[in-house]
Structure formats: C-alpha cells, structure tokens
C-alpha cells in the first residue's frame, strides 16, 4: 500500500510527466489557452492513460511475453492507445458535444501524446504488475492534469498582463513552463521512486 502511494506520488508530483520528464508537451502548450478546454483535456488524458496502461499491461503480460514477441511492444501499444483514444472520442462526442468542439483536433492527438506511450513503456521496463500499472497510469494522468490546469490558469492571467512585445504569446508561455518546472523540483524532497 505504502509502495503504491509512493508510486502515485512519484508519478504525479516528484517525477511529473510534463515538468520533469518533458513528455506530453504538445497538448500542454496547445490546449492551455482556455480553462474549460484544459479541464476537458486533463480528464480525457487521465481516462486514456489509465485505460491504456491497464490494456497495455494485459497485452504485454498475456500476449506478447507468452508468444516471445517482446519486440512488438511499441507497435502493439500504439495500436492499443489509438483504439482507446478513438473510443474516448466517441464517448466525449456522445456525452458532451460542447467539450468535443472545445477540444477539437487535440482529442485525437492524445494518440501522439508521448506521455501515454511513455507510461506504457515505463510500466514494462519497471516490471509493474496490473495494479501498479493502473496506479502509475492514473497518477501520471493526474500529474499531467495538475500541471496543465496550473499552467492554463497562469496563461489566462498572462493574457491580461502587459508583456513586452518580443515575449508575447508562446515565448512567455515557455518561460512560464520553465519556472513551473523549477517550482516542481521542490517536490524532489518528497522521496523518489
């Protein structure tokens, strides 16, 4: 139990996927203009990450390893992730057309969110069990969501700030992301895994 808690803490805060592993930067910069869209993106990514890490564990443990085809993992995981993302899109369109419009192209782009593939591959590399994989995926998604929501809130304020012309738009956003990454280094004292 303690181990699971440490795993969750490590994946969501200490080794935050966005701010210390620099995975999933595309939606981090792309969907951080409006808070509603960012909240939707965070939830969708959390959903996809959790499901995909569970399914990829199943694929790895019960299909690829018994068949001796470990080398197929990248291809297999990408296929699974693409499937889960497509399923999520169907779900979002059915339940919330407004959110579907807000997220637009970024919803299918979760497929290429390297955090998702990263979690699946890290699960295999660190030999996580099913429960550990699920916890790792969910907390990586939560960490991504926390970073994205904080960043979006900052950017919404920045939009009203008097930024020097040379820094307007993406440059100041990247500077902000860098400062956030520095701040997240403070979590390193919480114990690492």
């Amino acid at each position: 139990m303690t181990q699971l808690l440490l795993l969750a803490l490590g994946a969501s805060l200490v080794n935050n996927f966005v701010l210390s592993n620099f995975l999933g930067l595309c939606p981090f910069v792309g969907v951080s203009r409006r808070f509603e869209a960012a909240a939707g993106m965070a939830l969708a990514t959390l959903f996809v990450l959790t499901i995909a890490s569970g399914l990829s564990f199943a694929l790895w443990q019960w299909v690829l390893v018994p068949l001796g085809m470990e080398y197929l993992r990248t291809l297999g995981f990408i296929l699974l992730i693409a499937g889960v993302v497509q399923f999520t899109e169907i779900m979002v369109r059915a339940t919330s057309p407004l959110l579907h419009q807000l997220l637009g192209i970024f919803l299918p782009l979760i497929t290429t969110n390297c955090a998702v593939l990263g979690v699946a591959l890290l699960n295999v590399e660190r030999q996580h069990g099913l429960l550990e994989s699920l916890v790792f995926g969910a907390s990586a998604g939560a960490g991504f969501g926390i970073a994205l929501l904080l960043f979006t809130a900052l950017r919404e304020r920045l939009a009203l700030a008097d930024v020097p012309a040379a820094f307007r738009g993406t440059p100041v956003a990247l500077v902000t992301a860098g400062l956030m990454a520095l701040a997240f280094m403070g979590f390193a004292g919480l114990g690492t895994r």
């Binding site: 694929l59 299909v63 690829l64 068949l67 085809m69 080398y71 197929l72 291809l75 297999g76 296929l79 699974l80 693409a82 499937g83 497509q86 399923f87 169907i90 779900m91 369109r93 059915a94 057309p97």
Partner: protein, 179 residues
C-alpha cells in the same frame, strides 16, 4: 530470425489490429452521438435572431422541436415565408403561411440606443440573446449593429424607453441571413 518468425509477428499484429478495430466499430455503432444532423440542418435555415417568438428559448431549441415533430414549421416570424419554404423543402412537407399567432414578419431591423437618454442601468444587457449591447452600470450603452439580430428583446426591460428599432442596412446583422 527466419521467415516463420516474421510471418508470426505479422499475424499477431494483424489480429491485434482486427480486435481493436472491431471493438471500435462496435462502440461507434452502439454509442450514438446526441447531435442529430437534421437539427443542425434545420437550425442552419432559421434566421438565428434568438428572439423566442416561436415560444422556444432560441433557434436551436425550435429546430430540435421541429426535428422531433413537436412543433409546426411556421412559427418563425423573423424568417417569414422564405424560412417556411426552405424548411418545407428540406423536410418534404407542404408549405404553409407563417402563423400570425406568433408575430408578424417585419423588415430586417437593428436596435439603436438613444445615448442622450440612456441612464446606464445595464438592464438590457442580460436580455440580449447575442450579447450585442456593450456597456456597464452607469456607463452609456450602445448596440453593435453587426451583431444585433433585431429581436426586440431589449425593449421591455428598458426603464426609459431609449431603445428603438431601425431598418437594417443591406449588409448588417440578420439581413444577410434572412434575405
């Protein structure tokens, strides 16, 4: 590594793709999106004045009601005969004249605020369905003519009756969509 191993790997990848694909196909056919394309097509024919004269909250709710068969197609005074005819063609129904019970068709119009008399009470702001009135409390208000649909919903709340409707220019507001 021999040919057999390559073929097996191909087979495994193909089976995996087939499983994922059929699961998606099943999901796509069983989880229906709510948005009826017919509603969107009817909504596109309505004038988007959001005036509520049809007794629905706006054009889209009216389109939903038409698609569900819950409302007649002749309840839109701003659209007039033109809109009835367009919807009748789309739905393959007989054309009927606009029902006068819901109001009469007027020429395209936009609201205009007499800024001399406006007291800045801001009561017309929430009434406007398209947010075409700018202003704040104790500040003079004005109407963005390009956004105004001429729905007249801002007239009742005004305590000093400083809003009037003027004929819209050819390229302004709803004129573009009605004509």
């Amino acid at each position: 590594m021999n040919t057999d191993a390559i073929l097996w790997a191909l087979a495994v990848a193909a089976v995996l793709a087939a499983v994922v694909g059929s699961a998606l196909g099943w999901a796509a056919s069983h989880i229906r999106p709510d948005d009826d394309p017919l509603v969107a097509r009817i909504d596109a024919l309505l004038p988007q004045t959001q005036c509520g004269q049809c007794q629905f909250a706006g054009c889209r709710p009216y389109a939903t009601a038409i698609a569900a068969g819950a409302a007649d197609i002749n309840r839109c005074p701003p659209g007039g005969e033109h809109t009835v005819r367009a919807i009748a063609t789309l739905l393959d129904r007989p054309v009927c004249p606009p029902d006068p019970a819901y109001g009469v068709t007027k020429r395209p119009q936009v609201a205009w605020i007499d800024e001399e008399r406006c007291i800045g009470c801001a009561r017309c702001l929430p009434a406007c369905p398209v947010d075409a009135i700018v202003g704040a409390s104790r500040q003079m208000h004005t109407v963005i003519a390009a956004q105004c649909t001429g729905c007249e919903l801002c007239l009742p709340p005004c305590p000093v009756d400083c809003i009037e409707l003027r004929p819209a220019g050819p390229a302004v507001g709803n004129a573009r969509r009605v004509a």
